[in-house]
């Protein structure tokens, strides 16, 4: 952006001065590191000395790395607990609160429920991890309670046993995510004309058919935004894994972000970690582009 000394008639030149802090910040904090990371992914480097160029070697290794493929597979499973389940629960809850509870019990009750379900969403994930870790650990709340009511054989090592760890972490993620979906959907419903619902009601449409024929189509833009943001978040799950299971037991909850962190700062295989991060970034951008294409096509269809 060349700033000429000649002010253009609309004064947009002097307006572009206001972009300087933001653009410089972006170049320093996002653009240069991003490019540096791509560059690093073609090298072997221990974090000291000079990186040694190795071409595509890191990427070849990736494709043969079971840990990497395992982490990708877990990402697919986390899409279920990050996106699919919370969106479904959020839709039903939002429709219930908006289209039933509000009429039956009043605005206050509906707001109270919304606030309650939203609370886990603003809790720092690390705190959620400490909280659930304490509930789920072998001598934690769940197992003590099971033993107290004589169901000893149901007590499991929820986060220390590869059979259950992924399900346990998924439960925590669902618990965190439902509030986000609910609040966005309810915000979307507030722009919908209630007379539509009244008309449907008079036509004898029951609650479920109103959900399917009215609420879901009307909420399409919000569902779209929530699905996109949560899918992208699913590709980046890190804190819950770090805090609750550290990727274990036996890599059963390993995710790409944790693998990247581990190679950057534990094994010091910087180039390799950078390659994993590049794959993650590529997937994220691809996802965003596909979604935005799809959205603009939907809009042009009207």
């Amino acid at each position: 952006m060349a700033i000429s000394s000649q002010r253009s008639s609309d004064g947009s030149q002097s307006y572009s001065l206001y972009l300087i802090p933001g653009v410089i910040g972006f170049i320093l904090i996002v653009l240069i590191p991003q490019l540096a990371n791509i560059g690093l992914s073609f090298t072997a480097w221990k974090g000291v000395g000079t990186p040694r160029p190795v071409g595509l070697q890191n990427y070849h290794r990736l494709l043969a790395d079971d840990q990497f493929w395992g982490s990708m597979y877990h990402t697919l499973l986390f899409i279920v607990s990050m996106t699919v389940i919370p969106v479904c629960i959020g839709l039903v809850l939002a429709a219930l609160l908006f289209d039933y509870v509000r009429d039956q019990f009043g605005e206050w009750v509906s707001s109270f429920f919304r606030a309650g379900f939203y609370l886990p969403q603003i809790l720092p994930v690390t705190v959620a991890g400490v909280l659930w870790g304490w509930i789920l650990n072998p001598v934690g709340v769940i197992n003590i309670t099971l033993k107290a009511i004589g169901l000893d054989n149901l007590a499991q090592n929820w986060i220390g046993d590869a059979t259950y760890a992924l399900a346990a972490v998924s439960l925590v993620i669902v618990w965190i995510q439902v509030g986000y979906c609910l609040v966005v959907f309810m915000a979307g419903l507030s722009r919908i004309d209630p007379s539509l619902y009244e008309a449907a009601d008079l036509d004898g449409a029951n609650w479920w058919s109103r959900l399917v024929t009215l609420t879901i189509p009307l909420l399409a833009p919000e569902i779209f935004v929530v699905v996109l943001t949560t899918l992208i978040a699913a590709l980046k799950v890190f804190a819950p894994i770090f805090v609750i299971t550290a990727g274990g037991p036996d890599n059963s909850t390993l995710v790409p972000s944790y693998l990247t962190y581990y190679h950057f700062f534990t094994t010091q295989r910087v180039g390799y970690a950078a390659a994993i991060a590049v794959v993650q970034t590529t997937l994220t951008i691809a996802l965003a582009v596909i979604f935005l294409r799809f959205q603009s096509r939907q809009e042009s269809k009207g």
Partner: protein, 295 residues
């Protein structure tokens, strides 16, 4: 989807209402009961932390996690507070989060002023690049940032974290404020121009007062997001004196497994600030989310 209201819709509805009345009455209590159960499940972990944070260890050993404490025992809370130097962690979190919200809002405001009001050429491209830039996982920039911080002497300083988050979060802020500012009444701006106001004065005396509620919401968002951030502070802030609450919590994993009451206290102390923000900002936040939703 157009619904035709039948001409006799009202009478029909009345008839069904009478027939359904009894069934609906019990129905509403069933729905409410299910919702209450779900909410109880959602809030139960919070309740558990509250129930056990003030329990004496001996009492926990006897009565387990579900018993009501007979007395308020502050041993575990005090122990966690001292061991983790919690006052320090709280102060660090407050300083970092506040600085990020002020700086982040400022950068967002400047960007949005140029894009939304100034209609600077290439605005759309800038917005898309910014948003793509923050969409990508933080792992893809963390190592270069870590290296740059070490090279510039900013490693293990709160300033490094403040700069990084102010820039990262300003992308969302720029997007939100540009949308708001692109609909800013032209007449007001033109009137200010007529009065010989400079862009700088117009920004501070015309635009900012109108945007104040939105800026507050944005600042709130930035504060809470920064408070909850984990990966970048974990990497950048290695010394105990600089760490945030979120990082301190993330590192307690498994340390207190043998001391459940201590774990409950840790969780409880981690929850308290969130609940306070929640109560203060509840209205601001929901209004803010509505503002950010697709129109």
């Amino acid at each position: 989807m157009a619904y035709s209201v039948l001409s006799d819709g009202k009478t029909k509805a009345k008839a069904t209402a009478a027939a359904d009345g009894a069934r609906r009455d019990s129905m509403r209590w069933v729905v409410l009961a299910i919702l209450i159960l779900l909410l109880a499940f959602t809030l139960f972990p919070f309740f558990l932390a509250l129930l056990n944070a003030f329990k004496a260890s001996a009492e926990y050993a006897v009565g387990g996690p579900l018993s009501i404490p007979r007395s308020i025992d502050l041993t575990a809370i005090e122990k966690f507070w001292t061991v983790s130097d919690f006052s320090r962690k709280l102060l660090n979190s407050v300083v970092i989060s506040l600085a990020v919200s002020v700086l982040g809002v400022l950068i967002s405001l400047f960007n949005a002023y140029a894009i939304g009001v100034g209609k600077v050429p290439g605005s759309r491209v800038i917005l898309v690049v910014f948003l793509l830039g923050i969409m990508v996982p933080q792992e893809s920039i963390i190592y270069p940032l870590y290296y740059m911080a070490k090279a510039s002497g900013l490693y293990d300083t709160q300033l490094s974290v403040i700069i990084i988050f102010a820039v990262l979060q300003s992308a969302f802020g720029t997007y939100l404020l540009s949308t708001v500012l692109s609909t800013f009444p032209k007449e007001i701006l033109e009137a200010a121009e007529m009065d010989g106001s400079t862009h700088w004065k117009t920004l501070w005396f015309v635009v900012v007062p109108v945007l104040r509620p939105t800026l507050m919401v944005l600042g709130t968002f930035f504060f809470i997001w920064t408070w909850n951030e984990f990966l970048i502070p974990l990497v950048m802030l290695v010394s105990n004196n600089n760490q945030t609450v979120s990082v301190a919590m993330g590192l307690t994993r498994g340390q207190n497994m043998s001391d459940p009451v201590l774990q409950a206290s840790a969780a409880f102390l981690g929850i308290i600030p969130t609940v306070i923000f929640f109560l203060i900002f509840q209205r601001t936040l929901t209004r803010g989310i509505a503002a950010g939703a697709v129109k």
